[in-house]
C-alpha cells in the first residue's frame, strides 16, 4: 500500500463560468487527520464530491486509495467512508436496520456482517440504542451512527463533512476522540470544519477560499508564521479603544476577546509604541500589553481578510 491516501493535483471544477475549485493540490498520508477549512461556499463540498467520485473534475487529477477520480469513481466508492453534513441515514429505520442495509450495499452478509456491526456498535458506544429509530437519536448519537455506518466496510479513507456542526461541546469532544482512535489505526480522515479549535486537532490543515487553496501546513507551523504578529491589549473602555486602534498605522485587524483586544499587526514593536501613545492621548487606560502566539482563528481571519468574498 502506498503511503499517500489522498492526493489532488491541480484539481479544478467549473460550473459554467463560475470556478468552484481552482487548481488545488495536496497530499494526505494514511493515518493523518486532514482539516479542510473555509467559509461557506469556499469550495469545500465541491472538493469532497470530486474526491468521492460523484462529481467529475473539469481538469486536474486526483487519487483516492490507488484509484483515479476521473476514471475509477466506482472503485473509489467501495474503499471510502463518507459522513455527510446533514444526517442522511434512514430516520424511520432503527440503528441495526440502517447498519444492515448499508452493510449489504457494501457487499457484507451473514455472520461477517453481524460481526462487523457488533464491532462498530462497540466502537461508537451505540450498543444501547440498537432498536432505537435513527430519527429518535439525539444529534451526537446520530452523528456517531453515521460514523459507525461509514466504518462498516473497513475503509482506510473517510471523508467527514462538518461532522460536529450543531453539536454540543461534549458530543463534539466524543466525536473527536473517536476520530483520533481511527487515525491511530491507520485510517486517514478528511475533515471539514468551521471550528478553529477542532482544526488545531488535525495533523495538517488547509485553508480554501474562493476555490483557491490559500495555505496548507501543520497547525503549529501556520501559527508560527504569524507568531509575533498578534498583540494582546487589556484596556478600558474596550469598544472605544478597538475603534481607535483600528485607525492606527500597521494594525490590520482588531478582535475583541472579553476584556482584551487582539490586534493583528505587521510590526509588533512599532505598533506597541503607537498604541500606547494613542491611548494616553484619548484617555484609554492600558493595564497590560504583550505579544501572544496566534490562534488558528487569527490565522484564518488574517487569510480571509483582504480577499474579496465571492458572491
Amino acid at each position: 500500500m502506498p503511503d499517500i491516501a489522498i492526493s489532488a493535483d491541480k484539481l479544478t471544477r467549473r460550473f459554467g463560468k463560475f470556478t468552484a475549485v481552482d487548481e488545488i493540490s495536496f497530499e494526505i498520508p494514511y493515518g493523518a487527520i486532514f482539516g479542510f477549512l473555509g467559509a461557506n461556499g469556499a469550495g469545500k463540498s465541491t472538493t469532497i464530491r470530486m474526491l468521492c467520485g460523484i462529481l467529475e473534475p473539469t481538469s486536474g487529477t486526483g487519487k483516492v486509495g490507488s484509484f483515479d477520480v476521473q476514471t475509477q469513481p466506482e472503485q473509489i466508492k467501495s474503499v471510502i467512508g463518507y459522513v455527510s453534513q446533514r444526517f442522511s441515514l434512514y430516520s424511520d429505520l432503527n440503528v441495526i436496520e440502517n447498519l444492515i442495509f448499508y452493510g449489504q450495499i457494501y457487499g457484507l452478509e451473514g455472520a461477517a456482517l453481524h460481526h462487523r456491526i457488533k464491532e462498530v456498535l462497540a466502537l461508537t458506544g451505540l450498543d444501547h440504542f440498537r432498536q432505537r429509530l435513527a430519527g429518535d437519536l439525539s444529534g451526537g448519537w446520530k452523528q456517531k451512527l453515521a460514523i459507525a455506518n461509514a466504518l462498516l466496510h473497513k475503509p482506510k479513507i473517510i471523508f467527514l463533512d462538518e461532522p460536529t456542526a450543531g453539536l454540543d461541546p461534549l458530543s463534539r469532544r466524543a466525536i473527536w476522540e473517536l476520530l483520533y482512535q481511527l487515525a491511530e489505526g491507520g485510517t486517514s480522515l478528511f475533515v471539514t470544519t468551521h471550528y478553529m479549535e477542532e482544526a488545531e486537532r488535525c495533523n495538517t490543515i488547509a485553508f480554501i477560499s474562493g476555490g483557491k487553496l490559500l495555505k496548507i501546513g501543520q497547525p503549529s507551523a501556520l501559527r508560527q508564521e504569524l507568531h509575533d504578529q498578534i498583540l494582546e491589549v487589556a484596556c478600558q473602555p474596550l469598544m472605544k479603544a478597538s475603534r481607535l486602534f483600528l485607525t492606527l498605522e500597521g494594525v490590520r485587524g482588531v478582535t475583541v476577546y472579553g476584556t482584551t483586544l487582539n490586534l493583528n499587526v505587521t510590526d509588533e514593536k512599532a505598533v506597541e509604541a503607537r498604541v500606547i501613545a494613542a491611548a494616553s492621548k484619548e484617555g484609554i487606560v492600558i493595564s497590560s500589553i504583550r505579544p501572544i502566539p496566534a490562534s488558528l482563528e487569527d490565522v484564518f481571519s488574517d487569510l480571509d481578510t483582504g480577499r474579496p468574498k465571492e458572491n
Partner: protein
C-alpha cells in the same frame, strides 16, 4: 443482486412503518368499491312522476298502471291541476309528469286519436333518455294489450337481447374498471413519493457515495410496489366477485398477467414523476394531474366510442383505455389473450417505453 434485495427489504420495513400510506393502500380501494358498488348507480329506475289524470276512467288508470309496473316510473302524487304538476317539475319534486286529458277514453271509444303528454326533466341526459325510450315502449305495448290497434302479423319479428350484462347492472360495468382506476392512481403516487422521499430527506446523498448502481436502486425501489399493486388488484377483484357478485367469465391467469403489464406502466409513470418532482407534494400533484384525464377519457365512465374524433385520439395515448377493455373483456365477456391482442400490444409497448425512458432519465438525474 444483493443490493437490490437490500433496498427492497428496507423499503418494505419503511412501508410497514408508514401508517398513513398503509392506510391509504387499504382504505382507498375499498372506499372506491363501496362508492361505485353501492353509491353510484347509473341504472335509471323509479323516476318520481306526477300524474295529472283528468279523465279518471278505467283506461286512464290502466295506462298509469302500465307506467308504474315498468319499474321505470313511480307515481309520487296525483296532481290536481296543471300548474301543480308543472311546479313539481320545476322544483325537482318530479322528474316526469304524465298528463291525461279529460277526453282520453271518449276519443278512444270514437276511434279518434287520443292525446297523452309526458313531460320529462331533461337536465340530466341519462335518466331523460331512459324515460323517453321506455315511455314509448310502454305506450306501444299498452296499445297492443288493450287491443286499441288491430292485431296484425308483423313483417319483421324483431327480438333484441342483451348479452354479457342482461340486467344492465352498472356494477358489472364499473367495478372491473375500478381495478384500472385505483392502480393508475395509487401505484404511481406511492412509487413516486417513495423515490422522491430519499431525495427530500437527503438519503440519496449517502447512497451516491456507495458502490450501488442506478439500476439496482430503481429495481429495489420498484419491487415492493409491484407487490403493493398486486395486493390492490387482488383485494378489488375478490371484493368485486364475492361481495358484489360480479361473475368472472374469463381466465384468472390471463387477468393477472395482463394486470401485471398494466402495473408496470403505472410504476413507470411513478418513476417518471419522481424524476420531475423535487418533493413528495409535487410528485403526488403530478400523479393526480395525470390521473384526471385518464378517468374521464379512458372510457371508465363515458364510452370512448361516443367521443368526438380528436378526443378519442387522446384516449389512444392513455394506458387505462386499453386496460379497461382488457379487464371488462376478460371479466364480463370471458375474452382470452388473443381476443384482446389489439389492446395487449399497445399496452405492452407502453410498458416497455415508459420503463426504458424513466430508467434513463433516473440514471441521468442520479449521476
Amino acid at each position: 443482486m444483493r443490493s437490490i434485495w437490500a433496498i427492497a427489504y428496507k423499503e418494505f420495513i419503511q412501508l410497514a412503518r408508514d401508517r398513513r400510506t398503509l392506510g391509504l393502500l387499504i382504505v382507498m380501494p375499498m372506499m372506491q368499491l363501496m362508492i361505485y358498488g353501492y353509491g353510484i348507480n347509473t341504472d335509471v329506475k323509479h323516476l318520481p312522476t306526477y300524474v295529472y289524470d283528468q279523465d279518471r276512467s278505467y283506461l286512464s288508470r290502466r295506462l298509469i298502471n302500465a307506467f308504474t309496473q315498468s319499474d321505470y316510473f313511480t307515481v309520487k302524487m296525483q296532481a290536481r291541476s296543471l300548474p301543480e304538476a308543472y311546479s313539481a317539475l320545476d322544483r325537482g319534486l318530479a322528474q316526469s309528469v304524465l298528463v291525461i286529458p279529460p277526453d282520453f277514453t271518449a276519443n278512444l271509444v270514437k276511434k279518434k286519436t287520443a292525446q297523452v303528454q309526458l313531460l320529462i326533466d331533461g337536465t340530466d341526459s341519462t335518466p331523460a333518455n331512459v324515460a323517453l325510450n321506455s315511455s314509448q315502449a310502454i305506450v306501444s305495448a299498452f296499445m297492443q294489450n288493450e287491443k286499441l290497434i288491430p292485431v296484425q302479423v308483423l313483417p319483421i319479428d324483431f327480438r333484441p337481447r342483451l348479452w354479457y350484462n342482461p340486467d344492465l347492472k352498472s356494477t358489472y360495468f364499473m367495478l372491473p374498471g375500478l381495478i384500472g382506476l385505483v392502480l393508475q392512481f395509487l401505484v404511481p403516487m406511492i412509487t413516486a413519493t417513495a423515490i422522491v422521499r430519499e431525495k427530500e430527506r437527503g438519503n440519496i446523498e449517502q447512497l451516491l457515495v456507495t458502490p450501488i448502481k442506478p439500476y439496482e436502486l430503481i429495481l429495489g425501489k420498484i419491487i415492493p410496489y409491484i407487490f403493493v399493486g398486486i395486493f390492490i388488484a387482488v383485494s378489488i377483484i375478490t371484493t368485486m366477485h364475492y361481495l358484489f357478485v360480479v361473475p368472472i367469465k374469463g381466465s384468472i391467469i390471463t387477468l393477472f398477467s395482463l394486470t401485471l403489464v398494466y402495473l408496470i406502466v403505472c410504476l413507470g409513470i411513478g418513476l417518471w414523476a419522481s424524476t420531475v418532482a423535487d418533493n413528495q407534494q409535487q410528485a403526488s400533484q403530478l400523479v393526480m394531474f395525470l390521473a384526471m384525464p385518464s378517468i374521464l377519457l379512458s372510457g371508465f365512465i363515458f364510452p370512448t366510442e361516443s367521443m368526438p374524433g380528436w378526443v378519442r385520439d387522446i384516449s389512444y395515448f392513455i394506458p387505462m383505455t386499453y386496460f379497461l377493455k382488457i379487464v371488462r373483456g376478460i371479466i364480463l365477456k370471458g375474452m382470452g389473450f388473443f381476443d384482446l391482442i389489439d389492446q395487449v400490444v399497445p399496452l405492452l409497448l407502453m410498458a416497455v417505453l415508459v420503463i426504458v425512458f424513466s430508467i434513463k432519465r433516473f440514471s441521468k438525474r442520479m449521476a
